[in-house]
Amino acid sequence: MIKYIIKRFFMMIATIFVIATLTFFLMHSIPGSPLESDRTTNPQIQANLEKFYHLDDPLPIQYVNYLKSIVTFDFGPSIKKPNDSVNSLIERGFPISFELGMVSILVAVISGLILGTLAALKHNGIIDYLAMTIAVVGISIPNFILATLLIQVFAGSLGWLPAATWSGPSYMILPTLALATGPMAIIARLTRSSMLEVLTQDYIKMAKAKGLKPFRVIFRHAMRNALMPIVTIMGTMLAGILTGTFIIERVFAIPGMGKYFVESISNRDYPVIMGTTVFYSAFLVFMLFLVDIVYGLLDPRIKLHNKEGESS
């Protein structure tokens, strides 16, 4: 196990390094610079700015400095927001995105599992159709449309909830709903199909035949195996949602870090692009690592330290 973790750790470092390098060179290969603006056309002012942000250094030197900044996790000041360092943007935005993301994931997982399980148990019954209709609708409505709709209905027409901003618990309800619906729908569908498959297995019949209580059969024997595909998608889903989503945060004016991913690129704000990319990829790689560990816990047949061929 320890050996596996160490091995995975080095692979994580290598992955992040490759991602970081690719990002750096892609970023510099697109035309336009962070200092590009219709106004600052005075060459001297331009030169002063370039010097200030070390953009006049040759690319290899910038690359080395950039690698240094990754190792020390200090990405320097943002170019578009000179008051802030990239670190402070992340420190400020991430907890908020994380909080919203965590609540949304919890809502999505709990309601998704319940819907999916109900649908599988009542296969081809009314509940099944109902649950799957909800799931299909949830998957097909993009979350920004749902978000606008929720604001229109609950804030605009009914006036029950605040439309936007991040000022207290009641402000969390609409963004959570908007953010959780998609993942919930995916989880519900996955749960249903893997549940259906698991429920026909011999060991479930065996468990039932032994006279185990239905609750125990479902949760102890069926659910545990049915969870495998869900855990698989959870890694990417968590990384995506916990680091903030651009559209939901924009629509609800939530000061998370989602916007920096998108805006930094259209602004060519190099330090922010680098900071957010490295942060996100580190987070993602870590989540995938966690998922692998959870596999082992859920299914003892998967042994982490075994060679590929022997596992599963």
Binding site: I45, F52, N83, R92, I110, I114, P162, P169
Partner: protein, 538 residues
């Protein structure tokens, strides 16, 4: 057997939901204390976090709309868009128009310190220092020695900014610059409290350390989320200030902003473009001029726009009025010249109205001009034409309309090409495109600001167009101390520019907003930043 399981799960689901709602409702009322009768709180939206409150650093509306209400320079634009005495109590201008002597009034910083002439020297020096890399520094280039100092050459002692005593600031200009008082209403000319800036080099980054001298003070700043301004009791003209508080939200999505306005969470909102037509006649809609113009540039080095008659033919095929009426539909004025509305000359007349419409659609003339131009060049068919614009739905709508108008008027097929905005900006500066969308927003309130973009080799020219007479008129206007003569020179320059058609104007900009009927006297200038000094909420 399954029945009770279903029930159990349902109960669990309800419990989870109930738990969530109970939790979330608990703090529901924490947000608004609008109800209080005495306090006048204005709820505004800044869209996003201001980029910087260092007066020298940001050069954008999101920073300067709020900052303009936290600080004050020597002069301030009044509700008629004229620069009037603010921190300066008296302004003496020498006969040759080059020496400005400002006598400061007794004014305090929000921390109680006196505002001294030295605070201005300190702030202006900070803007001009090469290491600050201020994008606004060029605005000060009319001051003797400022350009050299900004380039890193020469000492600050050589710059024409002096404070002989605490109450007096003397500024020496290179040439009589009529717009100078207007230029220094710009936030980059605000003073900086030297003592505070030395103890907290990042004084402008947080509410705790921010020291201003304007009508309001910054009392809370939750980054990326909101700001609170309160009336500044130290402000010299505090009796005029009626609002007790301004709450700024940072909502970037215009649809959300509009919903918040509808539900009363905001007092002022921008207009979502999808709603513009529906709200066209709304009583709460306010439409103000903004000095700036959207236009197309022709690259005079790329065929067929090397030929003046061809350029004119294209320019005359574009129907500006049709574009604002049926395409943009957001209340802009059609542009039949390059200088926008809002500039009043020495004779009290609008520049735009005095010059009149320099270019209007004329299909017959356009056809004749195109034929004549092609004959001059010996072309039987026109070279391929591509119209380029930065990717955005609004830009695309206009480009499609222009494509259609050109086809109808002079039967020319134009290919449309959209490019990612940053790439577009970089490549249009490199003169890569043939026929492309452009826009100009005034930095200060004077026609010369717009027109001088097109002098030979200006970095704003981007058309390769060059005209000696035009250059001479612009240069002459900068040294002319007779206001009436200067005005005529600028009007002549504009006529040449439109006549030779390296560009074709489409529409002027405007500031469209929704405002609750009980909100009064928010001042929005054609050039300049939002002013809440006189604003009131009834």
């Amino acid at each position: 057997m399954k029945k009770w399981l279903v029930m159990l799960l349902t109960v669990a689901l309800f419990m989870v939901m109930a738990a969530c709602t109970a939790n979330k409702d608990a703090g529901k009322d924490s947000g608004g204390d609008k109800g209080k009768a005495v306090e006048k709180v204005l709820y505004l939206n800044n869209g996003v976090e201001p980029n910087s409150f260092d007066p020298s650093v940001a050069f954008d509306a999101v920073s300067w709309n709020p900052l303009n209400n936290l600080m004050e320079g020597l002069v301030r634009l009044n509700d008629k868009n004229e620069p009037t005495e603010a921190i300066a109590e008296k302004i003496d201008i020498s006969e040759d128009g080059k020496e400005y002597t400002f006598t400061l009034r007794d004014a305090n910083w929000s921390n109680g310190d006196k505002v001294t002439a030295n605070d201005f020297v300190y702030g202006w020096k900070h803007m001009l220092e090469a290491k600050t890399a201020s994008p606004a520094a060029f605005l000060a280039y009319e001051i003797v020695g400022a350009e050299d100092f900004n380039m890193g050459k020469g000492k600050f002692e050589a710059v024409g900014i002096k404070a002989p005593n605490d109450q007096t600031l003397k500024v020496t200009l290179k040439a009589p610059t009529e717009a100078f008082l207007n230029i220094i209403t710009n936030p980059s000319f605000f003073p900086v409290n030297e003592k505070n800036a030395k103890t907290n080099p990042k004084w402008f980054a947080e509410a705790d350390t921010f020291v201003g001298n304007g009508p309001f003070k910054l009392t809370a700043w939750e980054h990326d989320a909101k700001m609170t301004f309160e009336k500044n009791d130290q402000y010299w003209d505090k009796d005029v200030v009626k609002l007790s508080k301004v709450e700024w939200a940072m909502v970037n999505d215009t649809n959300t902003e509009y919903q918040m306005y509808k539900s009363g969470e905001l007092d002022v909102s921008s207009v979502p473009s999808e709603m513009a037509e529906q709200l066209k006649d709304d009583k709460e809609l306010s439409n103000m001029d903004q000095a700036g113009v959207m236009f197309f540039r022709f690259n005079t080095d790329k065929e067929p726009f090397t030929n003046e008659k061809v350029r004119q033919a294209f320019a005359m095929s574009i129907d500006q009025q049709q574009i604002v009426d049926y395409v943009t539909k957001t209340g802009q004025k059609a542009a039949h010249g390059f200088v926008s509305y809002g500039f009043v000359g020495p004779d009290g007349k609008e520049f735009r109205e005095e010059v009149g419409d320099l270019i209007t659609p004329d299909t017959a003339k356009a056809k004749a001009l195109l034929a004549a131009g092609m004959k001059e060049e010996g072309w039987t068919t026109l070279p391929k034409i591509t119209l380029t614009y930065g990717t955005s739905p609004d830009n695309q709508k206009i480009a499609v309309a222009v494509q259609d108008q050109l086809k109808k008027a002079i039967d020319v097929d134009v290919k449309l090409q959209n490019v990612e905005p940053m790439v577009f900006m970089a490549e249009s500066k490199e003169n890569k495109y043939q026929f492309f969308r452009s826009s100009f927003l005034n930095d200060y309130a004077d026609p010369v600001n717009a027109l001088e973009s097109f002098i030979t080799d200006s970095s704003m020219n981007r058309t390769n167009w060059s005209n000696k007479e035009f250059d001479k008129l612009i240069a002459g206007s900068k040294n002319e101390s007779d206001a009436a003569k200067r005005w005529t020179m600028l009007q002549d320059a504009e006529k040449i520019l439109i006549e030779e058609a390296p560009i074709v104007p489409v529409h002027f900009y405007n500031q469209l907003s929704l405002q609750k009927p009980n909100i009064k006297s928010i001042v929005r200038h054609p050039v300049g930043y939002m002013d809440l000094k006189w604003a009131d909420k009834e």
